[in-house]
Amino acid sequence: MVKKMKPDLSVRIGKLVFKNPVMVASGTFGYAEEFKDFIDLKKLGAIVTKTITLKPRPGNVPPRTCETPSGMLNSIGLENPGIDKFIKEKLLPLGKLHVPIIVSIAAEDSPQEFDILVTKLDKADAVYAIELNISCPNLLKDKLISQDAQDTFALVSRVRKLTQKCLITKLSPNVTSISDIALAAQNAGSDAVALINTLGGMCIDVNKRTPKLGPWAGGLSGPAIRPVAIKMVWETYRKIRIPIIGMGGIIDTESALEFFLAGSRLISVGTANFINPQASVEILAGLMQYMIDNKISSLSGITGRLKTCKD
């Protein structure tokens, strides 16, 4: 009898071990309660929360979403209850889910807000890791922290001193060279980088001659941006050594595998959660099957295993 092989899906970021590499992306999964009717949340590798800011934010003026060819624009504007209410009301139920909880945070006005946010989260046991969202396009700023390698380095090195918890830096694709920014995050002590956040975009209602989104522009996500994301992951993979959490238009097992082959150690399902709330667990099952079918015993057998002309 042939012994049935069960692939090892576990993966490490810094000192942390994740039982599998399938996460759900910030802003696409609420605080998880909206998904408990659809999937067994315990199956997920990790849940990344909706981004939290220091003060409560009402979010941007509607309309906040707009469908585009194979994608969507959003400008939610980080609507959230603020860190104190989040810790008081949302973190406890999240902690009871028995899934690693990664809390996404952002600063509104000054990068110093990250210091306070990190210090508060550092004390919370339910927080498995912290994601520094320095790449949200919907705060209507002229420049994002992640659009400058020096700013990224300065921010990450400062908050690195404030916590032992795992730090993930989420990067914007709206840059000349994302791998340079990833390198800056690595050199500053980030345990991993997550890429890509949404691409800046805009849609116009030609009859009204107005933008289709309330705040005129937003971030593009969904399958439309996947080729851009794959290329950025591959470029970055060749330049850094810390793990990459790959995302951008992952909708099924095949698209998730593209990200692994391009160099992602973990992947994050985002917009697909809106279309199919079960996408994440279906991808996890598909990944397991792919590894069994191809006799791959662990994720190192696919991560970055892209064959190129030079090989």
Binding site: G30, E34, F38, T65, E67, S70, M72, G222, I275
Partner: protein, 259 residues
């Protein structure tokens, strides 16, 4: 589990009139849990364009059969109109907070006023089955766009119609009809208004209800991405901040909304 994602069999999908279509599918799960004012979120095809599901309100529940009425307005609803009987429909439902109503202890015809604009009739027929013989006001641009009049009649409802071009019933806005009724008779002072239709109509209904000190429940449309409350995309401004049309609504008390 009340809300689920499921594959339902299409029973029929036919043109009603003009761009309006009628789709029937089978789902005992949704039939069991659905309430008037709730909706289902449909993946119109398996591709990625259109990417997002289309939210459509539940029009009727008969046994395990669910009926929807939708208007073909873009590529999503066009793709839906191309779906054939016996095919399976990937849908999530029932979703949202429906109309808030109490079953009348003693039938009192006219206790409730329904007001619908165009497609807005769809969820109100379902509600009319639960409430006793409401007064129903339906408005549309023209006679051909007055939908479901016979369905309301067969439920014993009193009907008043309004068309912009005067091709049927009162010439003018259905909200003018509402204003006339409330001004001329005192019988409706204790009524509740249930409204569904285009946003400007709902805004007018809300103002009239406020003026006559009558409660109104309005069912809104929203640009939804997820339909389940996760994305915060379809929010509407209320007296207590932004609320989600998909999860906190689509039915709201008109006094709660900032128009």
């Amino acid at each position: 589990m009340e809300t689920t994602r499921l594959q339902a069999r299409i029973i029929s999908n036919k043109r009603l009139t003009g761009n309006y279509w009628n789709l029937e599918f089978s789902s005992s799960q949704i039939a069991r849990y659905a309430r008037p004012g709730q909706f289902v979120n449909i993946r119109v095809n398996q591709g990625t364009d259109p990417l997002l599901r289309r939210p459509i309100s539940i029009h009727a529940v008969k046994g395990s059969k669910i009926k929807l009425i939708y208007e073909v307005v873009g590529k999503g609803t066009l793709a839906l109109s191309e779906r054939k009987p016996q095919e399976t429909l990937d849908l999530i439902g029932p979703l949202g907070k429906g109309f808030n109503y109490q079953l009348p202890v003693k039938p009192q015809p006219g206790q409730n006023i329904f007001i619908a604009g165009g497609m807005g009739v769809a969820p109100l027929v379902y509600l009319a089955e639960k409430l006793n013989k409401p007064l129903v006001l339906i408005g549309a641009r023209t006679k051909k766009q007055i939908l479901c009049a016979d369905e309301f009649r067969s439920l014993g409802c009193t009907l008043q119609l309004a068309t912009d071009d005067g091709s049927l019933g009162f010439t003018g806005k259905v909200t003018d009809l509402l204003e006339n009724i409330l001004t001329s008779t005192i019988d409706y002072r204790l009524s509740t208004i249930y409204a569904c239709g285009p946003h400007p109509m709902l805004r007018a209904v809300s103002l009239i209800a406020l003026k006559h000190n009558i409660n109104a429940q309005v069912s809104l449309e929203g640009h939804m991405a997820c339909g389940t409350g996760a994305c915060l995309g379809c929010v509407v401004e209320t007296i207590s901040g932004y609320k989600r049309v998909c999860k906190d609504g689509p039915v709201f008390s008109s006094r709660e909304l900032i128009w």
